[in-house]
Amino acid sequence: MSIILDKVNYTYSAGTAYEIQALKDINLKIEDGEFIGVIGHTGSGKSTLIQHLNGLMHATSGDIYYNGADIYDEGYDMRALRSKVGLVFQYPEHQLFETTIFDDVCYGPMNQGLPKNEAGLRAFEALRSVGFPEELYYQSPFDLSGGQKRRVAIAGVLAMKPEVLILDEPTAGLDPKGRDEILDQLALMHKERGITIILVSHSMEDVAKYVGRIIVMNQGSVMYDGIPKEVFRHYKELEAVGLAAPQVTYLMHELQEVGIPVRTDATTVEEAKAEILRVCQGRIR
């Protein structure tokens, strides 16, 4: 079971003077249970791409298959698709509307047709999993700080228990602790429930630490698609398109340049540490 994109193109404001081709011939296959990071410079088409995955945007040309069915087929149940493929938008805090936080998180499950008590259970579970303080559950969502609103909005999608969870820069503007909490929670859900997660991010560190596959977008096309070690090996090319590799990748390259024989494909601090220790210990002996 998977999501397949076949030659997907998308043009904004087609047929006007402001035409922009945001996606160009995108071919992708996303398998069940993957944890994918999507990176790319500002305006490279990341947000446009992910909105295609749950049918919110209709490709100008090309096909998208979810679990083998063409989602553009007549009579395809888009609402069912959207409850299976959950999407957390960039700055999701602007979508809150209910009088209490708890009710707002219930909105998704209620739309799925769940009875009230079950929706409530889902909401509790979701709010707890994003680490939201329990004493605030029945306050107005408009009185919260930006970061707290973000958590509520993410919980609003989690409560729908999607099979595929897509998050567009969920941690932008959060403090380091909040960022780690949310990402750790996602990693846990990925491990325990086996859901597919697609994470759009500008932080190479986050991507390197959590995901198993990276898709690099550049000007509407897929530039690289592979495991983090492979993708970050092209750090010079990534820099040329306004991206970068994780800090430790640079460190390892510099170490190698001054003559320390470390392998340069470490992408997380832990890997780098292990590699440096290995080389050092080799020297001491």
């Binding site: 904004y12 404001s13 006007t16 003077a17 909105q51 749950n54 919110l56 609402r79 959207r82 409850s83 959950g86 999407l87 938008f89 999701p92 602007h94 979508q95 809150l96 509307f97 909105y107 998704g108 739309n111 799925q112 408009f142 609003g156 999608v157 729908m160």
Partner: protein
């Protein structure tokens, strides 16, 4: 989705019409509309059409954009046409049951349709070649004398330009919120009226919240930069007439004079002769 709606959209191009002072275009449009209502006779009609087509050609805006504006008022045009067709008294040429068409009615209907078409296209030329900001600038400067009778011209035009500036932002915002709620299973299309109205709440509440937030931010930002209304305020790009603006005025005046002359000629020679 929603963004595809075009409202008086600006079409960027490098043409003499785009470069004209907005005051020229405002006054020119006004005079053109007046000319449409004084014209009589086929020669005048041809002149009005030729003038419009020439301006469109010079403006480099594709003709299809001009016609877009017409779609919005098709119903209005049909109704006006029918009223003129059936309700004008005169020599009868066709009758069925209570409906009767007169020669004068048919003439009036055709004339009215052309007038409306020219009027809409004429104003489209202005809005397509002038940015909303230029337009309010031009309006502000043209109406400046009204300050003498204590009409706050600057404040009104400031409100206008802010409102115009915010329309696309709010449309985009609506689009975004709509999508975010659809991702949470909202259904804006199906169901009866009450259900549909209820489905709008998750859209309208965040929209109003964000509109107020934006208004607040904007007011704060304006105050932080010491905005205090129109008094003593200078412009970064003040409007100054250039040679081409005077030329344009001359051309429009000549056109208007020709139309008036044609009307006089028509009234004195053609109509009495008929």
């Amino acid at each position: 989705m929603l963004r595809d709606i075009t409202l008086g959209q600006y079409y960027p191009a490098d043409s003499p019409i785009h470069k004209l002072d907005p005051r020229v275009k405002l006054l020119g449009t006004l005079l053109y509309i007046i000319s449409l209502f004084i014209f009589k006779g086929y020669v005048a009609f041809v002149l009005a059409a030729v003038f419009l087509i020439a301006v469109i050609k010079i403006s480099k805006v594709p003709f299809s954009y001009m016609v877009k504006g017409l779609k919005a008022i098709v119903i209005l045009m049909i109704i006006t046409g029918l009223f003129n067709l059936f309700l004008t008294p005169g020599t009868e040429i066709w009758r069925w049951w209570i409906f009767r068409i007169t020669k004068e009615g048919a003439q009036n209907a055709v004339l009215m349709l052309f007038r409306l078409t020219f009027l809409i296209i004429g104003t489209s030329v202005m809005t397509l070649t002038t940015t909303p900001n230029q337009l309010t600038d031009g309006l502000e400067k043209s109406l400046h004398p009204l300050n003498k009778i204590h009409i706050p011209v600057h404040e009104i035009s400031m409100m206008m330009s802010i409102a115009l500036r915010f329309i696309p932002i709010l449309i985009e915002e609506t689009d975004k919120i709509m999508k975010a709620q659809m991702a949470r299973g909202a259904d804006f299309e199906n169901g009866n009226l009450i259900k549909k109205a209820k489905a709008m709440i998750p859209l309208l509440v965040p929209l109003f919240v964000s509109a107020f937030r934006r208004a607040n931010d904007l007011a704060m930002a304006m105050e932080a930069r010491c905005y205090r209304g129109g008094e003593g305020r200078t412009k970064m790009k003040p409007l100054h007439y250039q040679k081409r603006d005077y030329i344009a005025y001359v051309i429009v005046s000549l056109y208007l004079i020709a139309m008036i002359a044609l009307r006089i000629v028509w009234n004195t020679f053609v109509v009495p002769a008929a």
